[in-house]
């Protein structure tokens, strides 16, 4: 689906009202509008040694509470806040259950995202070393 740009006439008339706030609204019993300050981070975590996907790796935003875990296929997907630089941390939290892997940090910068019609997106291919 194509996202259309706001009509320029709307901006001019709204601007003449001496308030850009005219475009920002919320329904009485609704939420504020979301201006999309996030990006989708997806990826795959594999063992550097075997090349096999690793499940149960904690993928977190460093210094924040937000995290997700890799699935059976070593895949993960989550939306994070769009910042200039965001450190994504990969941590083996299930101990020796499926071998033991070293932790890894990777930096996502705001220049990296692929802008699609469905929003900003980053794909990470991560290899973890065995301990």
């Amino acid at each position: 689906m194509k996202i259309k740009t706001k009509d320029w006439k709307r901006k001019i008339i709204g601007g003449l009202c001496l308030t850009s706030i005219a475009f920002v609204f919320q329904a009485c019993y609704g939420t504020p509008q979301d201006f999309g300050n996030d990006l989708l981070v997806e990826g795959l975590v594999k063992s550097k040694k075997t090349g096999l996907p690793i499940k149960g790796i904690k993928v977190s935003v460093a210094d924040k509470v937000q995290y997700t875990n890799t699935n059976e296929n070593g895949e993960f997907s989550f939306y994070i806040e769009k910042l200039q630089n965001t450190k994504i941390r990969f941590t083996d939290t299930d101990s020796t259950q499926n071998y033991l892997f070293s932790n890894k940090d990777t930096l996502v910068t705001i220049k990296e995202p692929l802008q699609t019609s469905k929003g900003a997106k980053v794909y990470l291919n991560i290899e973890l070393e065995n301990k």
Binding site: L16, G30, P32
Partner: protein, 354 residues
């Protein structure tokens, strides 16, 4: 002079917006189940709703009829209590897959660290949580002794996220009116950036309860409280878009009153009905997603929302401020629709003996 010029320009802007009627904001009443039994509930929700939750696929089929979604188009999940749905994150992700954004209105009771994390992961962008006073007043209105304790946790979590566009709403009533300043201080202490204040609509369970409704002087007091709080600049306090408040317009909101129901705001209700805001009288329903194409209904119907001249009746008929107000919030038209249920400006005039 500047005020008059701004009003005139805003009326032109409103006309333009009405003609364009771009769908920016879509409520989805995804459940009418609720874990609370609030005294002021306008929808009469209950723990065992007569309606089953709408299947996600049914909603998505309707959503997929939207040809070119507007920039910043947002789906607002509401209820009932949306967090009672087990598939809420899946709902959010499916909306995001379509390049759209989503947000949620919650009473906060079930909002904990686990679902705060999973909702952010699923691309939740905005959140509104209700708090209706300090502990005793909030628990009284919510009919639940643990409600404040739980909403306190929810507010703390939501306010800690710099990603979320988060605000808190409060329904002001006779019970909590005297503690607004303390509530303001509490919200600042919790790190809340934005606070919206409402009055209660005389519908649903609230209708027969006098405790729910402010006197004219209290309503003026509320406007003064909001005006003064906005000057302090420590939290973004505003009056909701529920109604036109005359000379207070520029003091209590960022923009002039403009009820966008059916103009930029649509809804898909629990039974598939297509309307504007969910609190609007259900006799205004324009179609149903199970029998009609949602976007076609949005584009071709909704005339009653976009031409409000029919509201120039009852006390609105002779009102000198009708051109700025246009019949107050659409949700104040119920039943026979011969008169607006509440006129905020009239209340203010009575309070100041104008």
């Amino acid at each position: 002079m500047i005020r008059l010029l701004k009003q005139t320009l805003f009326r032109e802007f409103r006309k333009f917006e009405t003609k364009q009627h771009e769908l920016n904001y879509l409520f989805w009443e995804c459940t009418t189940r609720c874990n609370l039994n609030c005294r002021h509930c306008g929808s009469d929700c209950s723990k065992d709703s007569m309606h089953k939750d709408m299947p996600l696929d049914d909603f998505l089929k309707a959503l997929d009829t939207i040809e070119s979604p507007a920039e910043n188009f947002t789906v607002v999940l509401t209820g009932g209590e949306p967090l009672l749905r087990k598939d809420i994150e899946t709902c959010g992700r499916e909306i995001r897959k379509r390049g759209m954004r989503w947000s949620m209105v919650s009473n906060g009771y079930l909002y904990n660290e686990t679902n705060h994390n999973s909702l952010l992961n699923a691309g939740l962008g905005a959140l509104t949580i209700s708090i209706d006073g300090l502990e005793s007043s909030h628990n009284w209105l919510r009919n639940n002794d643990k409600s404040f304790e739980r909403v306190d946790i929810a507010i703390g979590l939501a306010a800690s996220s710099s990603r979320l566009n988060f605000d808190v709403v409060t329904c002001v009533n006779k019970h909590n009116f005297q503690e607004l300043e303390d509530l303001r201080k509490y919200l600042i202490m919790k790190g809340v950036k934005a606070w919206r204040l409402f009055t209660i609509i005389p519908i649903g369970r609230a209708k027969e309860d006098e405790e729910m409704f402010l006197t004219e002087n209290q309503f003026k007091g509320l406007m003064d409280f909001i005006s003064e709080s906005r000057l302090k600049n420590d939290i973004d306090v505003k009056f909701s878009c529920e109604g036109y408040v005359g000379r207070y317009e520029s003091k209590v909101r960022d923009s002039n009153f403009f009820c966008r129901a059916g103009i930029n705001i649509g809804s898909i209700l629990i039974d598939g009905s297509i309307s504007a805001c969910p609190n609007i009288d259900r006799t205004f329903v324009q179609g149903n997603i199970y029998t009609d194409n949602f976007f076609s209904v949005w584009q071709t119907k909704f005339n009653i929302f976009r031409d409000r001249s029919w509201t120039k009746t009852g006390k609105c008929a002779e009102c000198k401020e009708y051109k700025n107000c246009q019949g107050n919030g659409f949700h104040y038209w119920h039943g026979e629709k011969k008169n607006v249920l509440v006129c905020h400006n009239e209340q203010l005039k009575k309070a100041t003996n104008q």
